[in-house]
Amino acid sequence: MALPSPNPTPHEPDIAMWGGVGSGKTAFLASLSVALNRAEGANEGWRIIGADDVSNSELTRLRTNLLEHRIFPRPTDVLTSYNWLVIGPPTRGRRVWWAPWKRHPARAPKITFSFLDGPGGLFGKSEYSVSKEELIKSLVKSRGLIYLFDPDRRGQISDAFKNLDVALREVESQMLGDDKYLDGKLPHYIAVCITKYDEPNILRLAEEYTDHGLELPRVPDDQARDFFREVLARDLDQNAGIIMRLLEASFHESRIKYFVTSSIGMYADPDKGFDPDDPSNIIDVPGQDQKIRGAVHPINIMEPVIWLGRMLYPKTMGRER
C-alpha cells in the first residue's frame, strides 16, 4: 500500500515558523493578523489579507479567537500552512526621465507570505514522524525563518536547545551536503523572536533594556540581542548559552535579527494607559482558558515579518534595515 499523498498546497512556504512547545507560534500568527492593521508610524498602512479562501477563513478564525473570544490558540497538532497577502502602503508616484511631466501611479507593495506552523515539540522526539519530516522539508525550502524562543519556560530551556540543535542538524545535513553553499552557512534569513515580553517577570528582566519613552515599553531591536544573551545567561541550564552560538554559527550574522516580541502586548487601561504595576494582559484562571484582558497591542510582531519581507523581496518592499 502506497503512502497516501497529502492534499497539495499551492505554495511552498516562504517563511517557516519554528520554536518549542508553547513558544507562541500560532499566537504570533494570530497577532500578526491584527498587528499589521494596527501599525502606526513607519509601518503604518500595512494590511494583511488571505491569499485564498482557506487562508482567509483561517485568518478570520485566528482574529476572531483573539479579538472576540479573547482566547489563545489551542496547541497546534499538525503542520498548518497560511498563505497571506501582505499589502503595504502605496509608494508615492515616481517621475521617470522619459516622461517627467507625469507621475506614475502609486503602487502598493504586495507580497504573498506563506507561513508554515507546526507542533513545537517535533524535534524533541527522537522517533521518526511524518510531520517532522515535512517540517524539515519546509525549513529547507523556505527562505525566511521565524524562530520563536520562549524565555518564560522555567526549566524548559534545555528542550528549546534540543529542539534547535536537532532541527539545525537535520536542515544542515540536507542543505550543506553538496557544494551549493560554499560558506558552510545556511542561506536563510532568520528573525529570532524572544516572545512573551508581556509576562511581568520578563518585563522585569528586560527592565534595563527597555525603552520607556513609548506608549508601551519595548526593547529596541539593537538591545534585543543583548537581552537574549542575558536571558540565556540567567538560565540554570548550561546548554542555554549555546543556543545563541548555535544560531550564529549556522546562519550568516547579517541574516539574523533579534526581536523582543509580545503577541498581545501589555495591558493598557482605557483611561490611565499602561501602568508598570499592572502590566499583565492575560486573565489566568486555573481550570479555564487563558483570556486576554484588554486590547491586543502586538509588540514587534509585524516587524520581523516586514524585515524578512524586505530581505526576501527587496525590490517590492524596498531594502531598508
Partner: protein, 670 residues
C-alpha cells in the same frame, strides 16, 4: 452484532505536560507505539480548535508484517490542561485488521458506536468491540445526491471536501461519510480515509471530509444543501474521467428505495481490496454497478423450512418438469462452469421448487448428491449474490423442520469439520443451518451443526442451551464428539449445582445410554462415577444412592461398579438391596412370592442396620484402620466387664452382706 478485536491507542498529552503531542497509551501487541504514532500522524485532520465538535475519522496502514489495518479515531477536547494551561485534543484510536472487516461488513458508524459504547481503553490488551451488523437499509436512507456525487468523485482518485455543513452534528456527518462509502464496493474501505472535519490549511491525507472551506486546487468541493441536492458539473481532467464520474453518479441515481438497499447490500459483498490509486479498480467499480443486479434478496435468511408434503401434492408435483435432483445437478454444474446467467435462472427455479416442497425420496437423493459433491468455493466468492440465494434454497430443499441429526448426518461427512481456505457445499449448508431459528432444528441437530461450524460456535451454543434441550441432545445425537460435548456439559452443570440438572438427569436414567455410546471400559465407569458423585451431592448420603439406584432401570454392571466406588459410608445394605431388587425385576420375579420373599428378607437384613447406636458403632469400627485393632478389642472387653459389674454390683453387695450377717448371727447364737 459481531465482535472484533481492535488494537487501540490514546494520543494527546499528559496532564500539565510541557511535551508535544504523542501517543500516551496503547495496546501492546502486535502493533508498536511507533506504528500508532505513524498512523495517527499520517491522518491528522488539523488542529482542534476551541468549541469544536468531536471529530471522527478513519485511516488505514500496513503493518510491519504486511497486514492491512483500518483505523477509526475520535478526537475531543481534553478535560485536563497542558503545561501552559491550554486545553488540548485527546484522540482515541482503534484499528482492526482489514481481513476481519469484510466478514462482518462493519460500517464506520457501527465502529464508532462500538468505540463509544466501549468507554475506556484500559490495559495493554486489545479491546473487544461489539459492532452492529451492516444495515444496508439505514445506509440507503442516508444516501443523498451529495453522497452519490461524493462517491462518484472519489473514483477519480482525488480528494473530496464537503463544505457548508458546519451546523451538522458530527454523527450526521459520519453517517454521510458512511453512506458515500457504501455506494462504492466495500473493498475500497481498505484505503479510504474520511473525517467529519478537516482544516484545509493542514496538509492532510483525508480523502473524503467536511471542512469550512475546501482546500485550494485539485480537491473537489461539494456544497452541502439542506435538501441534499448536488450535481457534479465541473470535473477537471480528461473528458474520459469526467464522463466516467457522470456515468457512475447517473447509474447510482437509477437506484431508489428498496433497490438502493439492495445495491448497497450487493456492494457490501464486493470485498476484494481496491485502491483509489489504481485506475483499473476505479473503472471496474462502474462495470460492477452496471452488471445486472442479482435478484433482490430481501434478507433471504432465515426462512422457515417447508413442511413434508402431503402424498397427493407430492404426486402432482413429480409430474412437472425436471426432477429436483436433476435441477440440483444442473445448478451445481452451472456453478462449476460459473455460468452466471444460467445460474440465476436455475437458482430461481430451485427456490420455487424448494418453497413448494419435494417428496422425501427426492430429498434423500438430493442429500446424496450434496454429500458426494466435490464443488468448492473460494472464500471471497461467498458473498456472491448467486451463492447467497442458492444456499438457503438448497437447505430448504434438503431439510424439513424440525431437522434431526440423522438428516444432517446424511449430508455431511466427518472431514467437513476440517476448514480449508475453500469451502465445500456441505460446509455451506452447515453454516446455513447454523443460522436457522432455534425451533427449526432439534437440539441435537443444533449441537451437531455447531460442532461442524467450529468450537467457538459450539461453546456459545452450549452456553445458551437450556438443560432439557441439552439432555435431549445428549440422547439423540448419533455422533460421538457432540454427544461427548453434551455429556461433558451436563456433568459440568451437575457439579455446578446451579441448575435443575440433577432432576433432569435423574429422570433420564442417569445418562446411561449416551455414556455407553461415547465411552467404554474404565472410561465409561469414570463417567458413571462422575454422574453418581455429582448427583449424590455433598456430603454423600446413603439415601441419595438409594434414590439413584431405584431410578435406574436395569442397572448395568459397570454402573454397579461405579455405584460401589462412589458409595458413601453405611450404604452397603442400600447397595445390596438395590442390586438384588434390580435382578428381581430383570428376572420378572417382581410381585411373585419369591420376589416378595426376597424383598422381605432384604428389609429384615437391613433392619438392624437401621438401629442407630449399634450401626454407628459397627460401621465406625469397620471404617477404622487395621492398626487400631488391638486396643479396640481391649476396650471392648473392658466395656463388657464394666457393664457386667455395673449391673450386678449391687446384687453381689447384698449377697455378701447377707452371708456376713448370717455368720455373725450364728456366732452370737453360739
Amino acid at each position: 452484532m459481531s465482535t472484533v478485536r481492535a488494537q487501540w491507542a490514546i494520543h494527546g498529552k499528559l496532564d500539565r505536560s510541557w511535551e508535544e503531542y504523542a501517543v500516551i497509551d496503547s495496546s501492546h501487541e502486535p502493533l508498536a507505539r511507533s506504528d500508532f504514532t505513524r498512523i495517527i500522524d499520517l491522518f491528522k485532520s488539523g488542529t482542534m480548535e476551541a468549541h469544536e465538535q468531536t471529530k471522527v475519522g478513519t485511516s488505514y496502514f500496513t503493518g510491519a508484517d504486511g497486514q492491512s489495518w483500518v483505523g477509526l479515531s475520535r478526537q475531543s477536547e481534553s478535560d485536563s490542561r497542558d503545561g501552559l494551561g491550554r486545553i488540548f485534543a485527546i484522540t482515541e484510536f482503534v484499528c482492526v485488521p482489514w481481513r476481519e472487516l469484510p466478514a462482518s461488513r462493519v460500517s464506520y458508524r457501527a465502529l464508532y458506536d462500538a468505540l463509544n459504547k466501549r468507554g475506556g481503553l484500559p490495559g495493554p490488551q486489545p479491546v473487544i468491540l461489539e459492532v452492529a451488523g451492516y444495515d444496508a437499509a439505514y445506509l440507503a436512507g442516508k444516501v443523498t445526491d451529495i453522497a452519490r456525487a461524493a462517491a462518484a468523485l472519489l473514483l477519480t482518485g482525488e480528494h473530496v471536501c464537503v463544505v457548508g455543513a458546519d451546523h451538522l452534528d458530527f454523527r450526521e456527518r459520519l453517517d454521510f461519510l458512511d453512506a458515500a462509502a457504501a455506494l462504492l464496493p466495500y473493498g475500497f474501505r481498505r484505503e479510504l480515509a474520511v473525517s467529519t472535519w478537516t482544516s484545509s490549511s493542514t496538509r492532510h491525507r483525508i480523502r473524503l471530509s467536511f471542512a469550512e472551506v475546501a482546500p485550494p486546487d485539485s480537491t473537489f468541493k461539494l456544497q452541502w444543501r439542506p435538501d441534499g441536492s448536488a450535481r457534479v458539473h465541473d470535473v477537471p481532467g480528461s473528458e474520459r474521467i469526467r464522463s466516467y464520474v457522470m456515468q457512475y453518479e447517473e447509474t447510482l441515481r437509477g437506484y431508489q428505495g428498496q433497490a438502493m438497499t439492495n445495491l448497497i447490500g450487493f456492494l457490501a459483498g464486493q470485498i476484494e481490496p481496491r485502491s483509489f490509486e489504481k485506475p483499473e479498480d476505479c473503472r471496474s467499480a462502474l462495470s460492477l454497478l452496471r452488471e445486472p443486479l442479482p435478484e433482490p434478496q430481501p434478507k433471504p435468511r432465515p426462512q422457515p423450512l417447508p413442511k413434508p408434503l402431503e402424498p397427493a401434492v407430492r404426486d402432482q408435483h413429480t409430474m412437472s418438469a425436471k426432477s429436483p435432483v436433476q435441477l440440483l445437478e444442473d445448478v451445481l454444474d452451472a456453478f462449476r462452469r460459473w455460468d452466471r446467467p444460467r445460474l440465476g435462472q436455475l437458482i430461481l427455479r430451485l427456490r420455487e421448487l424448494a418453497d413448494a416442497g419435494i417428496p422425501d425420496p427426492d430429498r434423500l437423493s438430493c442429500r446424496q448428491l450434496v454429500r458426494t459433491s466435490r464443488l468448492r468455493f473460494q472464500s471471497y466468492r461467498l458473498n456472491l449474490p448467486e451463492l447467497q440465494s442458492f444456499v438457503p434454497s438448497l437447505v430448504n430443499l434438503l431439510f424439513t423442520a424440525p431437522v434431526q441429526t440423522g438428516d444432517i448426518m446424511e449430508v455431511i461427512l466427518p472431514e467437513d469439520k476440517e476448514r480449508r481456505p475453500t469451502l465445500n457445499l456441505r460446509q455451506l449448508v452447515c453454516e446455513e443451518l447454523a443460522l436457522l431459528p432455534g425451533d427449526q432444528l432439534s437440539p441435537a441437530a443444533k449441537l451437531l451443526v455447531a460442532d461442524f461450524s467450529g468450537r467457538k460456535q459450539l461453546q456459545s451454543m452450549l452456553s445458551e442451551m437450556a438443560d432439557e434441550k441439552l439432555m435431549e441432545a445428549a440422547y439423540e445425537l448419533q455422533s460421538e464428539v457432540p454427544t461427548r460435548i453434551a455429556v461433558d456439559e451436563i456433568i459440568r452443570r451437575l457439579f455446578q449445582e446451579k441448575s435443575n440438572m440433577i432432576d433432569i438427569v435423574g429422570q433420564s436414567n442417569y445418562l446411561l445410554r449416551p455414556i455407553r455410546f461415547i465411552a467404554s471400559g474404565e472410561e465409561r465407569i469414570r463417567y458413571y462415577r462422575n454422574v453418581i458423585n455429582a448427583c449424590l451431592g455433598s456430603p454423600p448420603r446413603p439415601e441419595g444412592l438409594e434414590t439413584i439406584l431405584r431410578q435406574v432401570s436395569e442397572i448395568p454392571e459397570d454402573f454397579r461398579a461405579a455405584a460401589v466406588l462412589e458409595a458413601p459410608p453405611r450404604s452397603s445394605s442400600v447397595l445390596l438391596t438395590a442390586i438384588v431388587m434390580d435382578d428381581v425385576r430383570r428376572q420378572g420375579l417382581e410381585g411373585t412370592p419369591t420376589g416378595i420373599a426376597i424383598d422381605d428378607r432384604l428389609s429384615r437384613m437391613a433392619t438392624p442396620a437401621t438401629e442407630p447406636t449399634q450401626t454407628d458403632e459397627q460401621t465406625d469400627d469397620q471404617d477404622d484402620d487395621q492398626d487400631d485393632e488391638k486396643p479396640r478389642r481391649l476396650n471392648r472387653v473392658r466395656n463388657t466387664l464394666e457393664g457386667l459389674f455395673g449391673v450386678r454390683f449391687f446384687g453381689i453387695l447384698v449377697f455378701v452382706f447377707a452371708i456376713a450377717m448370717t455368720v455373725v448371727l450364728v456366732v452370737r447364737l453360739r
